[in-house]
């Protein structure tokens, strides 16, 4: 492999050399520096718009972590981020680029809502487990649709999963605006409220609900599954080297399907926990793009389940902080701008994790 030369015509050449190993320190330091630089660029942008970046960042920090309410809201946002973050990371681990967590989340929410709204004869104690199952299946089936052509004839899943997001959101919207709209709801596009048995209880007198427990358990299960089980081993081998997997007699087609089912299922549970734990009914929008933010989170966390937990809280805080700057006259989209910048810098920073910068004088060795 020739090292790419990125600059010419100066007395120095800057060369990138591939690193054989990535050190633990770099693995942590580089993302942290990347996030910091993203915040610096964000600050410049805020400054140019005539605002005081220090004040804005302070307000965001305070809004997200400065009070019991702030922290609880941050946790509320972190719940779907943990679940969708896990969902995409498990697919990414096998080099399956599932960009469809957003749509899978919506389908999970839709399927869970079906149980809550239209299965009144179900005994109370079975309602939540059934919603959980349906939520999983809703997301899983939605992920299976692009997984089958991917596994059998190699259709690029990046595009198909992405496009199915729009289908899922429109499908969801159709029911909220149409057949599932609450007749007693003054014509608002809302479904009827879920019965009490279909609601995940809240904790600590806040909006934080038992979805948090589901998320934490999922983190532990996925971690153990990947690290210590036969299936997790197959996933890692296939992700690292499909040829070696074939050589070892692994069934790649079956694994693609199973991993996509699990990935979609986790995203579906995120949707279920949103409607059962938070909104308690269907409304036109139940996610401000959790499924997309999940991609950034999975990447920042290097696909490590525990790191996903941590990063999800930070991104939850970023969202909540984004809402709090609205009082200063900035749009909540400031948070998305920062999210975008962070992804941009983290992806850029990856380069320095994999390559080492060498600056040499021309003609030197």
């Amino acid at each position: 492999m020739p090292a790419p030369v990125i600059q010419q015509g100066s007395p120095f050449t800057i060369k990138l050399e591939k690193r054989l190993t990535t050190s633990r320190l770099n693995n942590i330091l580089i993302p942290v520096i990347s996030v910091f630089l993203a915040l610096v660029v964000g600050a410049i942008f805020i400054y140019v718009t005539g605002n005081d970046p220090v004040k804005i960042y302070q307000t965001m920090l305070k809004g997200a972590f400065g009070s019991k309410y702030g922290i609880s809201e941050t946790v509320v946002k972190a719940i779907p981020l943990i679940l969708t973050g896990l969902a995409v990371s498990i697919a990414f681990k096998m080099q399956l680029w599932n960009i469809g967590a957003e749509g899978q989340l919506y389908m999970g929410a839709w399927a869970a809502a079906y149980v809550a709204l239209f299965m009144p004869d179900l005994p109370g104690f079975l309602v939540l487990p059934t919603m959980f199952l349906f939520g999983f299946l809703g997301g899983a089936i939605w992920a299976l649709i692009p997984a089958i052509p991917r596994a059998l004839i190699g259709v690029n899943e990046t595009i198909t999963t992405l496009l199915l997001n729009y289908v899922a959101i429109l499908w969801f919207g159709y029911f909220v605006y149409g057949p599932w709209r609450d007749p007693k709801g003054f014509n608002f596009p809302l479904s009827a409220a879920f019965p009490e048995a279909a609601r995940l209880p809240s904790m600590f007198d806040t909006r934080v609900h038992y979805g948090l427990i589901i998320g934490l358990v999922a983190v532990v299960i996925i971690y153990i599954m990947l690290k210590h089980t036969k299936w997790g081993y197959e996933i890692r081998v296939i992700g690292e080297s499909p040829n070696a997997a074939r050589y070892a007699g692994m069934n790649i087609v079956r694994n693609i399907l199973l991993v996509m089912i699990l990935s979609g299922g986790l995203a579906g549970i995120a949707g279920m926990s949103e409607v059962a734990g938070l909104t308690h009914r269907l409304q036109p929008t139940i996610s401000p793009g959790y499924g997309y933010t999940a991609i950034i989170i999975a990447w920042l966390a290097k696909l490590n389940p525990f790191a996903i937990l941590l990063v999800s809280f930070l991104f939850g805080g970023l969202l909540v902080g984004g809402y709090s700057v609205q009082t200063l006259g900035l749009p909540a989209a400031t948070a998305y701008m920062l999210q975008g910048l962070i992804l941009f810098f983290v992806l850029g920073g990856e380069l320095f994790n994999r390559y080492r910068l060498r600056i040499r004088e021309r003609g030197g060795k």
């Binding site: 054989l20 190993t21 036969k230 080297s241 040829n243 070696a244 050589y247 007699g249």
Partner: protein, 508 residues
């Protein structure tokens, strides 16, 4: 008085981490000649030409173009000096037209491309060199042969004086090959130098004027075509030093373990790769497969291990039919496989030694319970193998890509042998290894032979084949030319078979 060569490379040395790819190689090409650069895979041909085209910089050595020393810093400078290369994988933009591809990246065209002028120039070039191309056609509409012509025209349009082609016939049909050779001759007749990278002897004998043979990174000889023949070239390519005789015991033959009956299969490109190949191996013997690389060796190993479809014929292991079964079934029939790509296929570079050690038996007890992999057992087993096979590494929990080539291969053998195989398929198992690692591999193979294992041993080194094998099968163009007992043949005979010629054998 000899003319000044168009290109002269002197004492070129290029090192890559762990590999000496070019070792003081000298090479020259003159105007008006077709010069073949002949050598096996890994002999250093591509590296040498990458240096000439400015992709790599040599660690040592000098390059002269028309007698003047030059420093080629990048491909652009090489093109500027009239060096053009047609790569095996074409560099064409599919939706663009032929003319657009040809001028793509050129600087002196002005802001607007004068399309008609360019097209006219291309038509003229194509007449002069007997290269039929249609400037207005889109690349995606063209056959592979036509695309290759576009690449050649592209280089000529840029004023290439030295035209390098990397294995140009690999992708062509026989008719297209004839067409290409006509073009190359015409190009040479116009005073250009044509350099042909190849490992195919037939082509060399058909088209080349002179031949430079590379082996193991060194230039072994430059010969005139009229003064040589295929057999001599084969010897130069595969090398023949003093024959080593090992005192191995006569084989203690067991039952037939592997049987191929008229096996046919296709290559990755969809051409026939094995043609009615038949052979059998008994327990306790090593069958060496000799042949110039690329004559069906890889495919032979893959049809046995279930990685490639057999289109016709039968594969039997232990007298049971194993034609077109899954790789897993072959593994379960206790077939060990040392693939050509030891890293990336045989081993997973980013996983650690423990994870690599269980690649074949991770499904079985006691490595794995119903759900969980038994971490302690795996760790002990990995440590055991590392000790038994004397493998040097920083730790069983470190990614194996940090290990040296020899230790990687020992790890691979350790895993495969520890699964107690009845058959071992080993493809180029010592390629790129140092002497001590080669010896270790040979010792492992001989020990397995004594333990009654049947071994299919594919190698490109005749010395090695003669040293280890009990019988030698020669593969040429996908056919098993012959299977000979090692004691009743010699390098000359095997060399001729490798070149596709059946020697007259005395009867008796």
């Amino acid at each position: 008085m000899p003319q000044v060569p168009l290109v002269e490379m002197k004492g070129i040395t290029k090192r890559f981490p762990g590999v000496l790819a070019n070792d003081h190689v000298s090479f020259e090409a003159r105007s008006g000649e077709i010069h073949a650069l002949l050598g096996e895979n890994g002999a250093g041909k591509s590296t040498l030409m990458s240096i000439l085209t400015g992709l790599y910089r040599p660690d040592e050595g000098q390059i002269f173009i028309k007698g003047k020393p030059v420093q080629l810093k990048n491909p652009k400078e090489a093109i500027g000096l009239g060096i053009g290369m047609v790569h095996q994988h074409f560099r064409l933009v599919q939706p663009f037209s032929v003319a657009e591809n040809i001028v793509l990246g050129m600087k002196n065209l002005g802001l607007f491309i004068k399309k008609e002028k360019v097209e006219k120039e291309i038509e003229e070039l194509s007449r002069r060199f007997a290269l039929k191309v249609e400037p207005k056609a889109k690349i995606w509409q063209l056959s592979v042969g036509e695309q290759q012509r576009v690449e050649i025209v592209k280089m000529l349009y840029r004023g290439a004086e030295i035209l390098i082609l990397d294995e140009p016939t690999a992708v062509l049909t026989p008719q297209e090959v004839r067409e290409l050779f006509k073009t190359l001759r015409q190009t040479a007749n116009q005073g250009k130098a044509v350099i042909l990278i190849t490992h195919k002897l037939n082509e060399v004998m058909e088209i080349a004027d002179r031949i430079t043979v590379l082996r193991g990174g060194k230039s072994v000889a430059t010969v005139n075509k009229v003064e040589t023949n295929k057999i001599e070239l084969t010897k130069l390519m595969v090398g023949r030093e003093a024959m080593l005789v090992v005192d191995k015991k006569p084989p203690d033959l067991g039952p037939v373990i592997l049987q191929l009956e008229n096996v046919n299969c296709l290559s990755d490109k969809g051409y026939p790769a094995l043609k009615d190949a038949s052979l059998e191996i008994r327990g306790g013997e090593i069958l060496g497969v000799a042949g110039v690389a690329g004559n069906g060796q890889r495919e032979l190993a893959e049809v046995i291990t279930g990685l490639r479809r057999v289109t016709r014929g039968k594969v039997k292991i232990g007298n049971k039919d194993y034609t077109n079964v899954s790789p897993r079934e072959v593994i379960e029939a206790r077939v060990a496989y040392i693939p050509e790509d030891r890293v990336g296929m045989g081993l997973v570079p980013n996983l650690n030694a423990m994870e690599n050690v269980i690649l074949k038996n991770y499904r079985e007890k006691p490595v794995c319970g119903p759900l969980f992999i038994n971490g302690d057992y795996v760790k002990n087993r990995a440590r055991q193998l590392v000790d038994d096979f004397n493998i040097k590494m920083t730790g069983v929990d470190k990614a194996v890509k940090l290990m040296s080539g020899g230790n990687l291969q020992k790890l691979l053998f350790a895993r495969e042998v520890s699964c107690e195989p009845q058959l071992i398929v080993a493809v180029y198992p010592v390629r790129g290894l140092d002497v001590s690692a080669i010896e270790a591999v040979h010792d492992i193979l001989l020990a397995q032979r004594e333990a009654g294992v049947a071994i299919l041993f594919i190698s490109e080194d005749l010395d090695e084949i003669f040293k280890l094998s009990d019988r030698i099968a020669v593969l040429y163009d996908g056919q098993v030319m012959d299977v000979l007992p090692t004691g009743k043949t010699n390098v000359e005979e095997v060399g001729m078979l490798m070149a596709g010629t059946r020697p007259e054998r005395e009867v008796g």
